[in-house]
Symmetry: D2
Subunit: 150 residues, 4 copies
Amino acid sequence: MSQLVESTDFQPTDKNFESKVHESFAKQPFMKTLGAILTKVTPGYCEIRLPFHEQLTQQDGFFHAGVIGTIADNAGGYAAHSLMPEGASVLTVEYKLNLLTPGCGDYLVARGRVVRQGRKLTVCLSEVSSVKDGQEKICAMAVVTLICIQ
Amino acid sequence: MSQLVESTDFQPTDKNFESKVHESFAKQPFMKTLGAILTKVTPGYCEIRLPFHEQLTQQDGFFHAGVIGTIADNAGGYAAHSLMPEGASVLTVEYKLNLLTPGCGDYLVARGRVVRQGRKLTVCLSEVSSVKDGQEKICAMAVVTLICIQ
Amino acid sequence: MSQLVESTDFQPTDKNFESKVHESFAKQPFMKTLGAILTKVTPGYCEIRLPFHEQLTQQDGFFHAGVIGTIADNAGGYAAHSLMPEGASVLTVEYKLNLLTPGCGDYLVARGRVVRQGRKLTVCLSEVSSVKDGQEKICAMAVVTLICIQ
Amino acid sequence: MSQLVESTDFQPTDKNFESKVHESFAKQPFMKTLGAILTKVTPGYCEIRLPFHEQLTQQDGFFHAGVIGTIADNAGGYAAHSLMPEGASVLTVEYKLNLLTPGCGDYLVARGRVVRQGRKLTVCLSEVSSVKDGQEKICAMAVVTLICIQ
């Protein structure tokens, strides 16, 4: 699969979308627990990086599927949040995660992009890649449905 | 939804299924990171408990969706693992998580049960409940597809 | 998996829920195309029967996965619709279908049950079984998310 | 979302992949029932067209969600099948369909593309678009997991 890229289809309704997303991300204690970093937010797009740490692994030494799902969900959630009006908050309704290859390497990158923005519901596609020595390999794909709470 | 209960449909092919699952669970560093406890394993069924901790929360103080997904996946995974032959290992192919109510309270309980066991693929249903003062409330449901690696 | 049963958890807000669901079902031309029959509606529960017909099959002579998905979706949708207020309509947001065994036999039965009813969103679990000579065997499971449009 | 395009990543192992897929498609009576046409197969990619017909609709006159799911599943399935070895058959393990806008217009186009090909399991992304007067609009997205049976 070609790498998921930023969208040019969307205009944010909240001009402070970038700081809004960074503030919300910073308020998630679980992101600190994981060591996840918000590396990019553009309208309808979000990128999260997660360095490898042994504390995040499953029984074979790979990133735990739950860790991969967490950043896939969050990348989709903040891609959606970037397009929401000021003061609105975002909740995940559901997500589906397909694990494609073991998550390993130096760090993971999760990229989330809005596929369809509705008034209430937004649907995002997320990809998570393993990066080792600068080489990326897709390890998971997710579809995330989010609801805008005003 | 009535609470998901243990199955009586399955006979384990590995008589040491219980210790096998406990050993595998103990080898998952991410379970220690979360503070998750494996509380029950019977043939085709698994129960995981996760005490509340502020480090596991999202921006509103609830359990992060990724945390809920992690134990839903793991409960399904070990329910499947309990029925697999000696020496086989289990990998999650995909899971889908619906978040029904905010995850909060004193602890979460994830219950996973095998719905269909095939030679290669097993499908499980998982439920995650919030428990506060002994009262349970379902907070999420997941369907997990797993593959048996021999 | 034990067979999915009717719920006793719900009170319908629309006392004409049963005729409402039957009327909506009768307005779906695709149900006639398939030959599907609405056999039961109780609050938060719906049952659809689909007799076997060669026109509904895939390349190996089994019910096509799309047929199974259609009645799984519809059973969930009408389970949700039964609890919605008068005048509201229901739309599927998404569904996920796991195919467990080939769909075959004399007819299929799809049973849908509400797991969580919210003001806007309702989540249902559906099971589809193959019935041959009166013997049922589960062939698919679905989780369906629906939205109430008022 | 930018339109899903053909892949250039894959080499088919079966040089007769195109005729193989067309033959299998022609053996699905349900495709005839729907009036679906296989319009394109390249390695790891498949396109299906479905003209509008009132018999395929739900209560509001739109394409039924089950119809949309059927061609999304089939497009993914045959994208996967195109890469499988001679003599292998393909079965859908599960699919998840998000409905984004009502399916309407002159016809639907479903495009399926392989995201990850494994020895046993293949994961595909499918998009379904409504086409009216030559204008396309995405109406659904699906992730399909398939298994290769040899």
